[in-house]
């Protein structure tokens, strides 16, 4: 079933996509920083960048996260003599590499070299799970007590957010298979685990939502799972109530305590890529993958897709920034309890929600949603 691009295009995209993803991740990161600063009422230094520096830092400083990483690349890398050297050095590279590979499987405005692969969703989830594993390994390998505490917190937090995350993702993937025949649509694939199929399903179907004809966004068809995934992403991205593993005043930098210079820079790259992948995955799963297939107003459809992608990203980042600014940090036991209380229950509701919709439609009860 899977439709792949020609091999030369795949190779080009394989190299270009991680670079694009990193660049966009830097933009997202600076947007989060700017919005958080506004919410916190920070004024910041008011000065004009000198002309000679503009080619380097730019006049708007939106590339500041990038230059933060570049600075680390110029710095000396120190490795503790008591550290487990091999694990300590390889962990940041394993995290970055797994995320670069994950980008190949995630469609960005429908473009993906390996997206049509049948199990690209599962592969993406596993590759994203490697990041917390490397953080745990590097904290334990650094032989610092703060690293050990950071690892221990990372393990608990990962356990807490990963369960609602996986449940939410799979309950959404079921939608492609279950809903279409019942609501009169043409069944594309019975319950596809391919991200491209999920994106194409949302782009090719539309729903009438209380009389309004809108694209078949899964966030409307399964809002419970979408909410659970968004809450899990807050833990995955270490947004404020959940930034427990690297809480500065409590554990210095957690697992990153002993990391310096280039190795820390590679970890920072992984963080930026993770931000990009998480947001793109959410858009792919719940917001139609920002894919527009019609050339409205004579403008090519990929430009429309880009605009939609930008708008959706800004909304998501706005939510993340508000959550980040409006919260204090949970303690690890409180975070675990919270994840077991709200997101887990939401994702369980999300898991049975498709069946409820099907049985309601089978019984002839209108819930105001129809797939066309």
């Amino acid at each position: 079933m899977a439709v792949y691009l020609p091999i030369w295009q795949i190779i080009i995209i394989c190299f270009a996509l991680p670079a694009v993803g990193f660049f966009l991740g830097v933009l997202f990161q600076s947007l989060i920083r700017k919005l958080t600063a506004r919410f916190q009422g920070r004024r910041g230094p008011w000065y004009i960048v000198p002309k000679s520096l503009r080619p380097v830092v730019g006049s708007t400083r939106i590339l500041q996260p990038f230059w933060d990483i570049m600075k680390l690349m110029y710095k000396q890398t120190l490795i503790p003599s008591t550290a487990q050297r091999k694990i300590f050095i390889s962990a940041p590279f394993a995290a970055s590499t797994s995320l670069i590979i994950a980008i190949w499987f995630i469609p960005i405005i429908g473009i993906s070299p390996f997206g049509p692969f049948e199990f690209s969703l599962i592969i993406t989830l596993y590759l994203m799970l490697i990041v917390p594993l490397t953080i745990v390994a590097s904290g334990a390998a650094s032989s610092s007590p703060w690293g050990a505490i950071g690892s221990y917190r990372e393990v608990i937090l990962t356990l807490a957010y990963e369960i609602p995350f996986i449940l939410g993702i799979f309950s959404t993937a079921m939608l492609t298979g279950i809903l279409t025949p019942v609501y009169g649509g043409v069944p594309l694939i019975p319950g596809s685990l391919s991200l491209t199929d999920i994106v194409n399903f949302q782009a090719s179907h539309s729903i009438s939502f209380f009389g309004f004809k809108i694209p078949a966004f899964f966030i409307l068809l399964n809002p419970f799972a979408a909410a659970a995934i968004l809450m899990s992403l807050i833990g995955k991205l270490k947004i404020k109530p959940m930034d427990i593993p690297d809480a500065e005043v409590e554990v210095i930098a957690g697992a990153y305590t002993e990391y310096t210079g280039k190795l820390l820079g590679v970890y920072e790259i992984a963080k930026i890529l993770l931000l990009f992948i998480s947001l793109t995955l959410f858009i792919d799963m719940y917001l139609g993958g920002a894919l527009v297939t019609v050339n409205y107003l004579g403008v090519p459809s990929f430009i429309w897709s880009g605009i939609v992608f930008g708008v959706e990203i800004v909304i998501l980042i706005l939510i993340i920034s508000v959550v980040n600014a409006a919260n204090a940090r949970f303690r690890i036991d409180q975070a675990f309890t919270w994840y077991m209380k709200i997101p887990l229950i939401l994702s369980l509701i999300g898991l049975v929600w498709p069946y409820i919709m099907v049985s309601l439609a089978g019984a002839g009860v209108s819930i105001g949603i129809n797939i066309v």
Binding site: T36, F39, Q40, G41, R42, P145, W146, I149, K240, P241, D243, I244, A247, E248, V249, E250, I252, A325, A326, N327, A328, R329, F330, R331, I332, D333, Q334
Partner: protein, 581 residues
């Protein structure tokens, strides 16, 4: 008959002062050497060293507080050990200063630390600074000096340093009896225990302080604290300066509560000279002191917010604090060290033109503080992080000697402004209430400080209003104190009770200046709050007392709750043991 009637009526009118004096006379008999009243209800009683323990035992049982313990160097007359007992929380202004003389050779006095925890730090401090030995002290380690400070040239030397000094040998033997204490969970016996260093440089602290926290899993088993990284010897410096120059020196003890230091000093000297300052100066002092409390509580709220990860609260609180700093700049000319309080009054007047701006900015600050109170009451994460954390019960607070908002959050109504009125705090000048809370946890300390900020706004408004009807005089001329004049006075700093003791020798420089800062007391209370809590809560618990290590610069022995044993370990030993070959 008439005599006995008079005697019975006298007995009925017995105040605490009379009761204590009578008891001491009965107990000491011939050793009741000298008694004098230095100020209103403040008494100096001289006795002999063998009676310090029974006196301490009686004073503590009589609900007294050991406000401070200090030693004064009297030259050829030897050392003078002073025990400052405060009863002002029971009866206004009441203080007893018990003095004993020690010979210059082999100065030894029994330690009263086994009787009250409040003496522990003060005795260690005096062993460091003046070399007086307090025998049978349970924890005779250095407080300000480094543990490996070379004291005796002849003692055991390792790598050129005499590691075991006379005093520290006892600590060494205690440790040796208990066997090897392994810091990083290496021995099977201690495998469950981990030692974590917090400080001297750690993101938790603004200033340098060294905590050693032993954790079992995530639970803190015990805490040790080393101070002395900021010691600047302000008390010694003050003993070398003219009276007129000291207010500006003592303001430099702390960058946040500077005026309260100058006020405490000026109050003490004014009490020695027995001069009354003009009403207008009292109101101006009150305005600056209360603005300083606002400033301190706002900056503390910000830091506390940061310690529980609430960066937004930190930014907002520091933004609002700017208004106070702007007011300081307008009123005193300086933003941090105000230098406005001076002997006999104040140096600058607050004119009518300043009053509208004071009121305008106060309105803004009051609105913000009300917003923060709403956050403290409503925000789920803030409540989850602060409630039932760092419990300090009323009895522990009293035993260990907590002061200020820390004590008031444990429902202890203790406030120098009401118990020992100075400036314009007495009821004839301003009316206000002491804020207390019965929660005994970190959340209560947040709420007490925020409500106190509102009270401060109220006091400033009243002072500004009533200042208009005072005469323009803002200062009276001071003169030099007589020989032997001495005075003790205190103020309520934003962190609690700040105690000053000054003694004159008739020249233009004071003979003795002693400062007891509020954090000195509250830091000593920290282990009681930290034990049994999780490591994640350590920052906010330490932060909840508003520690000012710069003020204090002074913590503690390790006490194992599981086995009830005291273990002592020295940094030098660890460094030597784990130094790489």
């Amino acid at each position: 008959m008439t005599d006995s009637e008079a005697a019975t009526s006298k007995v009925e009118k017995f105040s605490i002062v009379d009761e204590i004096k009578l008891f001491l006379k009965e107990m000491l008999k011939d050793n009741y050497i000298e008694e004098k009243e230095i100020q209103d209800k403040k008494y100096v009683i001289r006795t002999t060293p063998e009676y310090v323990k029974p006196i301490a035992d009686y004073m503590i049982r009589r609900d007294g507080r050991l406000v401070h313990l200090t030693v004064s160097d009297e030259g050829v007359h030897g050392f003078e050990v002073q025990y400052h007992y405060g009863f002002d929380h029971l009866e206004t202004n009441t203080h007893f200063i018990i003095k004993v003389r020690l010979p210059r050779e082999n100065p030894e006095v029994p330690s009263i630390a086994p009787i009250t925890w409040q003496a522990s730090w003060a005795e260690r401090e005096m062993m460091d600074l003046l070399g007086v030995t307090f025998t049978d002290h349970p924890d005779p380690r250095h407080l300000f000096l480094p543990y490996e400070w070379p004291e005796e040239a002849e003692s055991e030397k390792i790598d050129g340093f005499s590691l075991y000094t006379k005093r520290d040998k006892s600590a060494y033997y205690i440790r040796k009896d208990l066997g090897k204490w392994v810091p990083l969970a290496l021995s099977p016996a201690d495998a469950k225990l981990t030692l974590l260093p917090i400080g001297p440089y750690h993101p938790m602290f603004i200033e340098s302080e060294y905590f050693r926290v032993r954790v079992e899993g995530d639970e803190i088993v015990d805490v040790d604290m080393k101070t002395g990284f900021n010691h600047r010897g302000v008390m010694r410096l003050a003993e070398q300066r003219h009276y007129a120059r000291i207010p500006f020196l003592v303001e430099r003890v702390c960058g946040i509560c500077s005026t309260t230091h100058a006020t405490a000093y000026c109050n003490t000297v004014e009490a020695m000279l027995d001069i009354e300052i003009p009403d207008r100066a009292k109101y101006i002092r009150t305005i600056i002191l209360e603005l300083e409390r606002l400033h301190s509580h706002l900056i503390w709220l910000g830091v506390a917010g940061d310690l529980i990860g609430f960066k937004t609260l930190f930014m907002w609180a520091l933004r609002d604090r700017e208004h106070v700093l702007d007011l300081f700049e307008k009123l005193t000319g300086n933003r941090v060290h105000h230098d406005i309080v001076y002997l006999g009054g104040v140096r600058k007047d607050i004119s009518e033109a300043h009053i509208p701006e004071i009121i305008r900015r106060l309105d803004f600050i009051e609105d913000s503080v009300k917003k923060y109170i709403d956050i403290a009451f409503d925000h789920p994460v803030v409540k989850a992080r602060t409630m039932d954390i760092g419990k300090l019960t009323l009895s522990t607070a009293k035993d260990a000697g907590a002061v200020g908002p820390t004590a008031r959050a444990s429902d202890w109504k203790i406030d120098v402004r009401s118990s020992n009125p100075y400036a314009a705090y007495s009821p004839e000048y301003t009316t206000w209430d002491v804020i207390t809370d019965s929660g005994c946890d970190v959340w209560s300390r947040v709420v007490v400080r925020l409500k106190e900020a509102l009270v401060s706004c109220d006091i400033i408004r009243q002072s500004v209003e009533r200042m208009k009807s005072t005469s323009a005089e803002i200062r009276v001329k001071p003169h030099l104190p007589e020989e032997g004049a001495e005075a003790a006075n205190k103020t309520e700093a934003p962190r609690g009770e700040l105690y000053y003791y000054i003694k004159s020798n008739g020249t233009n420089i004071p003979h003795t200046v002693r400062i007891r800062t509020p954090s000195y007391r509250n830091d000593a209370v920290l282990p009681f709050m930290l034990r049994g809590q999780t490591l994640s809560d350590a920052p906010i618990i330490i932060g909840s007392i508003d520690p000012c290590f710069s003020c204090t610069d002074r913590m503690i022995r390790i006490e194992d709750v599981k086995t009830n044993q005291v273990r002592l370990e020295r940094i030098g030993d660890l460094a030597r043991k784990y130094r790489r070959a």
